[in-house]
């Protein structure tokens, strides 16, 4: 059936393990990366993110398990599997003695079907039009990052893998990266797999996120589940002058510094507010106390050092 075809994950990591000597860098990692998403890969430094990415693109061997890209094993059918992948592993290193354009031509020659128009299109997408004919040694880190994304996109990969893409980018650069990854995902249907240790950044960028620590998968969760946030009750703080009175009026909640905290759904809020105001309580503010991913992340991985 067509629907199941579409629902098939772009990449499947099946019990992937990487051992070097007696050290296990990645341990029994099983993860499906669904199509059409921006999928985050989150973990502290040394957790095994880059090692996993290197295995996904065949730069290093897989000790145990396998990785399928569009259903083809990266171990047994490397050329076929990797042809669906565009990637930047760590820093975007380019031939500094060539121009940006010559660099792109290098990679265009290595696949079939990349036309001159496609090269120009990609250059425009990453916004390098003005400097593309300059030598790469004159580029700033941000520009090299853009060129890196451009080379990864040339052959219209189904899966774009970016390892710490926001490293060394200024806030504007990060924002732009976020915007064009989003555009890419929506317009070309490219699945983006992006690793980072910057949690707040992941929250803004990704649809789902997998959390890895000490080479093990800790959790996979969806971030942008719009339906959920509307319906689910969230801890909400009512900033009021008389918290005790407020609790008496509503009949539940916990008195905290600054007001009353209780679990409510979004729909309940206006009625509760009215109740408080009519009861003579001054309401200065109402806000949800949703924990950021960062809190959850630290909670999950907290207390353990790089090991």
């Amino acid at each position: 059936m067509l629907t199941t075809e579409l629902a098939e994950p772009v990449a499947r990591l099946q019990g992937v393990t990487k051992k070097i000597g007696s050290k296990t860098l990645v341990s029994d990692l099983t993860l499906d990366i669904p199509a059409g998403q921006i999928f985050g890969f989150l973990g502290p430094n040394g957790a095994g993110k880059t090692t996993t990415i290197r295995m996904m693109v065949g730069l290093i061997s897989i000790s145990r398990g396998d990785i399928l890209i569009c259903g083809r094993s990266i171990k047994d059918h490397f050329e076929e599997a990797v042809s669906h992948v565009g990637a930047i592993v760590e820093n975007p290193e380019m031939y500094k003695f060539l121009t940006g354009y010559q660099n792109l031509r290098q990679y265009a020659r290595m696949v079939s079907g990349v036309t001159k128009q496609r090269i120009d299109e990609v250059i425009k997408l990453v916004g390098l039009d003005n400097r593309i004919h300059d030598k790469v040694k004159t580029y700033s880190l941000g520009m090299r990052q853009r060129l890196g994304v451009a080379q990864a996109l040339l052959h219209r990969p189904k899966l774009l893998i970016l390892d710490e893409p926001t490293n060394g980018l200024d806030p504007q650069g990060i924002r732009e990266l976020r915007d064009y990854l989003r555009r890419l995902c929506q317009q070309e249907g490219t699945t983006v797999f992006v690793s980072s240790h910057l949690l707040s950044e992941m929250e803004l960028m990704c649809d789902s996120v997998a959390i890895i620590q000490n080479g093990r998968l800790v959790d996979v969760r969806q971030l942008k589940n719009i339906g959920d946030t509307v319906v689910a009750a969230a801890e909400t703080l009512f900033e009021v002058d008389q918290a005790e009175t407020a609790m008496a009026l509503i009949g539940r909640g916990i008195v905290k510094e600054g007001g009353l905290v209780l679990e409510v759904t979004r729909e309940e809020i206006p009625a509760l507010n009215e109740l408080l105001v009519n009861g003579g309580v001054k309401v200065y503010g109402i806000r949800a106390l949703s924990r950021s991913l960062e809190d959850q992340f630290l909670e999950m991985t907290g207390g353990e050092g790089i090991g």
């Binding site: 070097i20 061997s61 592993v89 020659r109």
Partner: protein, 262 residues
């Protein structure tokens, strides 16, 4: 999937877009052209000038050192350069097997060695033609070869030596990912091999017949039927071929299996 010729084209661009490559070729051209001029003006008496082929051969004997060194530089940088630039990570994630990428690098290196040898011949021979005596060469009678044939056999055998040295450099570059080591080791071999042959003389040690160094200089066969230790040309070629295949095999196995974590 693209075409294999595209890979070789890529490698050629990486070689010839660098100023260094053109500086090396320029030095080689100047050196080859300059030697006959020096011989011409240092001759005390114009009646004692060397003939065309003699002048050319003297030029080659000096300039070919440079040719070997420059080819070794290119061979050493071919793989090690990608590692030190970090570009290896982008190169190896294309839909090409590592074997083919390695082969394209090797072919482009061999093409460079051919180009530089042609430059050496063109400038050396051209200059020797202008700055030599027109009365002919005296070395003819020595070997039974005609002077021109002798000169080109001499070149061919020198090229074999260059070819092996460059392949060795290519292997070291693949195994250790360090161009400095590859260049250093190859230069050491270029300069120390004669000394090694003297120390481990195949006339004295039977096993020395199987050393690479003993056979690298095939030019002994131009004037003699037997080589070092009394072996034949065929034996020497077999030993060289065995080492050549070994170097390629090691480069290939290491490059194919390597975990790229640079």
């Amino acid at each position: 999937m693209g075409k294999f010729s595209g890979l070789i084209h890529n490698e050629n661009i990486k070689i010839y877009s660098r100023a260094r490559t053109w500086v090396m070729l320029l030095i080689l051209a100047v050196m080859s052209a300059l030697m006959p001029v020096l011989f011409y003006f240092s001759a005390s008496d114009k009646s004692h000038l060397m003939g065309l082929w003699e002048t050319f051969q003297m030029t080659v004997s000096v300039a070919f050192f440079l040719n070997t060194i420059f080819t070794v530089v290119v061979a050493s940088d071919s793989i090690a350069g990608e590692f030190s630039w970090g570009t290896i990570k982008l190169l190896l994630i294309r839909p090409w097997s590592r074997s083919k990428i390695l082969l394209s690098k090797y072919i482009s290196m061999v093409l460079f060695s051919l180009l530089s040898t042609v430059v050496l011949i063109a400038f050396g021979l051209g200059s020797a033609y202008l700055f030599s005596s027109q009365t002919g060469d005296v070395m003819t009678s020595l070997t039974g070869w005609s002077p021109s044939a002798y000169s080109f056999m001499d070149l061919l055998f020198r090229y074999v030596e260059l070819f092996l040295t460059a392949t060795l450099a290519f292997m070291v570059s693949s195994v250790f990912r360090a161009s400095g080591l590859a260049i250093g080791l190859s230069l050491f071999i270029i300069f120390a091999k004669n000394l090694i042959v003297i120390i481990f003389n195949p006339d004295r040690y039977e096993w020395a017949k199987y050393l690479l160094f003993t056979h690298m200089d095939l030019r002994v066969y131009l004037s003699s039927d037997t080589g070092p230790g009394g072996v034949t040309l065929g034996f020497s070629i077999a030993v060289l071929a065995a080492y050549y295949l070994l170097f390629l095999l090691i480069s290939w196995i290491v490059f194919r299996k390597r975990d790229v974590a640079a």
